[in-house]
Symmetry: C2
Subunit: 341 residues, 2 copies
């Protein structure tokens, strides 16, 4: 057989398949979508034709009819942290598994930009929205809510994110282990260096509670919400030159390079002068000297869970307020050592 009338630049459509199999369009459609109201023999003919013509259904067209685009919108503030990447990876995996594609967008940071990004996703009529660490986006989500489009937050949700279902993990156990280890090594004063936004994380609560258990002092120190490494320097200097300076530091992954530079500049050595724990792991944290202990998150699993959640939601079953597919885990490395005398 020969493809009936094929022009080079034209994509083969359901009509072509139907004609080639000598059935009506609707029969072809039914056969290909696997409905039962079609004779086995005809169905076979349709499938053969489709195969031969290399027919690929136009998802957009089907979406128009079904009011589903089979795309999931994902918004990241920037794919910068390893966790964000993992989440993206896992999300894609879960989405593809269910036939969805992922339309991803980076919102650089400003609210205005976020607005634009959401608008584009709305224009594309995504079937669901996955927001990584959203913050203050409640208002801009209204159009999606009006349409009943599922929206979930992943990893964390800042203030002003309304009551989006949150896909996250429980850092409690891992933080407990970390603090226990530090207590065991004689540490009596810990600190968490974080930007004001980050401080709202439940990590803060856990750190405080666990520290209290051992009678350990715990303090938070605000970091500028700045990308510049240097900006961390003064804070570290202040913290470490105080009379009662902490002997154990917790800090988010993205600030580690800056922190290392700052400590280095101050002549402070890890773990001799201060122990260090990073929230978030990466390959290179294992090859620094010393390797840096982490409290880590299985971002991929988070992403997968988020994907599954929205797909289920699309099908009708709304998720609970919090989904916790896995727990963070504690990775002990040489950056955690005995408290200095």
């Amino acid at each position: 057989m020969v493809a009936d009338e094929w022009k080079p630049g034209r994509v083969v459509t359901l009509k072509d398949v139907a004609r080639h199999a000598d059935v009506s369009i609707s029969t072809a459609s039914r056969a290909l979508t696997g409905q039962r109201n079609v004779q086995t023999e005809l169905a076979a003919r349709v499938w053969a034709a489709a195969e031969e013509l290399d027919y690929r259904p136009n998802v957009a067209a089907r979406g128009l009819r079904l009011a589903r685009t089979m795309t999931i919108g994902a918004v990241f503030n920037r794919l910068e942290s390893p966790v964000a990447l993992e989440v993206f990876d896992g999300l894609g995996e879960a989405a593809h598994e269910h036939g969805y594609s992922v339309l991803v967008a980076n919102a650089g940071g400003s609210a205005g930009e976020y607005q634009v990004v959401l608008q584009r996703l709305f224009d594309q009529r995504v079937d669901a929205l996955v927001l990584y660490r959203p913050s203050g986006v409640e208002a801009q989500l209204q159009p999606f809510h009006d349409l009943g489009v599922p929206v979930v937050a992943v990893f964390a949700r800042g203030p002003g994110s309304g009551d989006l279902p949150l896909v996250t993990n429980g850092p409690g156990a891992a933080i407990a282990q970390a603090v226990a280890r530090l207590a065991e090594l004689g540490h009596r004063s810990l600190a968490y260096l974080a930007t004001p936004v980050e401080m709202r994380d439940n990590r803060t609560t856990h750190l405080r509670e666990e520290s209290a258990k051992y009678g350990i002092e715990f303090a938070m120190h605000p970091l500028l919400d700045d990308r510049d490494h240097a900006s961390i320097g003064p804070v570290v200097h202040d913290v470490m030159s105080a009379r009662h300076r902490p002997t154990g530091l917790f800090i988010r992954y993205r600030h580690v390079p800056g922190l290392l530079q700052a400590l280095n500049a101050g002549g402070l050595e890890i773990p001799r002068d201060v122990s260090l724990v990073s929230f978030g792991d990466a390959e290179w944290l294992q090859s620094t000297r010393p390797p840096i202990a982490t409290i880590n998150v299985d971002g991929q699993e988070l992403g997968r869970a988020a994907g599954r959640a929205v797909v289920e939601w699309i099908k009708g079953t709304a998720p609970p307020a919090v989904i916790q597919p896995s727990s963070a885990y504690w990775v002990d490395r040489a950056s955690v050592g005995p408290a200095p005398a």
Copy 2:
């Protein structure tokens, strides 16, 4: 005014706008798409109605009609290297600037997976395809070529990628600077550690040529194409325990952690025993001790260029075989020091 007849779960459509402005659908369309054959007064009414109803055109529907989906497909082997991320970022930026969204997919590695990913993108009828470091995908691209869908490779293209237009940068100048610096510091023997695939990069050629200029010995050493850090150990051991061991090492970013571990395990220090240059930069390379010199690529610019190229191509003007928006640059850091005696 009040939204005529608005049901909660329904999205406002062009029809709604037309009715609200009391014009025909086609006039509304013309007004909103900014065609001239429409009275100023009517146009104003239409715009007002659109504004009031918060009308957002359905891109998919428009796409169906115009045979353009306004999406660009991007395929990464995995968003793992910092450059890949930057490229993605830049691509998104350029795409959005021109009204396109980016449908991104990760192909884990196997050819089969790549096939599936491409198929999904085809089903979504992406208007163009951007492939990051593609290799051996020529055959699977046929459907896109048949349809005249623009496809470009970014950063590099492996064997079997046909004659895809390539968006890349010229590493020549930067490599020349690096080798010059090493020569100046007395190095007489350099090596490039890379997986067999990576060795096909034009970096190899440049390294060889530049080394030759100074009469410097240059050797390539194959790495297993493995994600496991440990697998690099034996190779490093072999290379560094040879009688004529190199005093300067070039290696791709992603292998740096493994290399550092291996050198560390072998009791070798940078730059005392060997100097190191990484292809590809990252924040943490500045905060290791010593900081690691790099030959770096402006991935973002690459991504932007790729985006611009496919958009232009969609509009009709095919790109040249190679687009080189910027050059790689040499970043001297303390990992490059005097050759050991």
